[in-house]
C-alpha cells in the first residue's frame, strides 16, 4: 500500500495510512503512517465498533495536519490495540 500512497503524494495530494507492521512501513517509507496493534485484516479495529473506527479515522486526519516531516510513523500501538476480541485502552479515548 505504501507504493500507492507514494504515487498519490507525488501528485501533490497529502496522504496518511494505517500500518499494521513497522518493519514493512520503514522499508517502503510512505509520507505519513499510523501504527496500530491490530491483526491483519483489521486496520480499523473490530466490526461494528463505531467508536474505535471513528477514533482511528479522526487520529489519522489529526496527524495528517500535525506531521510535518516526510516518512513519519506515529506509534499508536499503546492507544489502539485489540487483545482477544476486545479493544483495550480505547476506553480512555472514548471517555468511558
Amino acid at each position: 500500500m505504501g507504493l500507492i500512497q507514494r504515487a498519490i503524494e507525488a501528485e501533490d495530494i497529502p496522504t496518511i495510512s494505517i500500518s499494521l507492521n513497522r518493519m514493512i512501513t520503514e522499508k517502503v517509507k510512505p509520507p505519513r503512517a499510523l501504527l496500530v496493534a491490530f491483526p491483519l485484516g483489521h486496520p480499523m479495529g473490530n466490526p461494528f465498533d463505531k467508536d474505535l473506527q471513528r477514533g482511528i479515522l479522526l487520529a489519522g486526519l489529526k496527524y495528517l495536519e500535525a506531521i510535518k516531516e516526510a516518512g513519519t510513523i506515529v506509534d499508536l500501538t499503546m492507544k489502539y490495540r485489540i487483545k482477544g476480541r476486545k479493544c483495550t485502552l480505547c476506553e480512555v479515548e472514548a471517555g468511558r
Binding site: 507504493l3 495530494i13 496522504t15
Partner: protein, 171 residues
C-alpha cells in the same frame, strides 16, 4: 475450490490468529526499499477539505469483476468505488487475509460510513465522489505496473476529483 485457494485461505486465517507471523513474514521477504519519500504539505483546514479513501483490502462492487486470485503475483488493477455506495453493494475478493470480520462490517477495512459521518457533522467539507480499492498482494512484475501505471492513474483521478487528502487502509 482449488488447492491454491484453500492453502491461501488457511494461511490467511493463521496470520490473523497469530499476529507474530506477520513479523516473521516481513523479515523473510524482500520489499521495495525507498530512501526518499514524496511530500505534499497539508495546509488546508479539515473543515474545508474533500477527503477520499484508498484501500488495498480487495474491496469492490458486487457488479465489478473480482481481483485475480489465480496469478501468484497478485493483481495490480484497481476498482472505483462511488462514495455513496451502500455497504451491502460491496464485497471483498482477497484470499491472502482473513476478511470474515470485514465481510460483516466493511468499515473494518474501508471506513466509508465513518467518513460520511464526519462529513455530516462538518468535521470535513466533503467526501470525494469516488474512493479506490486495490488488492494488496502485489509481487514480481506487477510491482512495476503498480508503481508506474495503476498507482499514478489513481493519483491523477483523485486530483481530477479535487481531493485534498487521502486516508489509506491496508488489508
Amino acid at each position: 475450490m482449488s488447492i491454491k485457494v484453500l492453502k491461501d485461505r488457511i494461511v490467511a486465517k493463521l496470520f490473523t490468529r497469530f499476529p507474530g507471523l506477520l513479523e516473521l513474514w516481513a523479515k523473510s521477504r524482500e520489499f521495495v526499499i525507498n530512501v526518499e519519500t514524496p511530500w505534499a504539505l497539508f495546509s488546508k483546514d479539515l473543515s474545508e477539505s474533500r477527503v477520499a479513501l484508498v484501500t488495498t483490502a480487495g474491496v469492490h462492487l458486487r457488479t465489478q469483476p473480482p481481483y485475480d486470485m489465480v496469478d501468484k503475483e497478485g493483481d495490480p488493477t484497481f476498482r472505483e468505488i462511488p462514495s455513496h455506495t451502500p455497504p451491502t453493494d460491496l464485497m471483498i475478493t482477497h484470499n491472502y487475509y482473513d476478511h470474515k470480520d470485514a465481510d460483516q462490517d466493511i468499515n473494518v477495512v474501508f471506513p466509508m460510513e465513518r467518513l460520511r459521518e464526519l462529513e455530516i457533522e462538518g468535521t470535513i467539507a466533503g467526501i470525494a465522489p469516488k474512493h479506490f480499492s486495490f488488492m494488496g498482494h502485489i509481487l514480481g512484475h506487477h510491482i512495476e505496473t503498480l508503481i508506474n501505471r495503476t498507482g499514478p492513474e489513481v493519483a491523477k483521478m483523485l486530483e481530477a476529483d479535487g481531493v485534498d487528502a487521502v486516508f489509506m487502509t491496508p488489508a
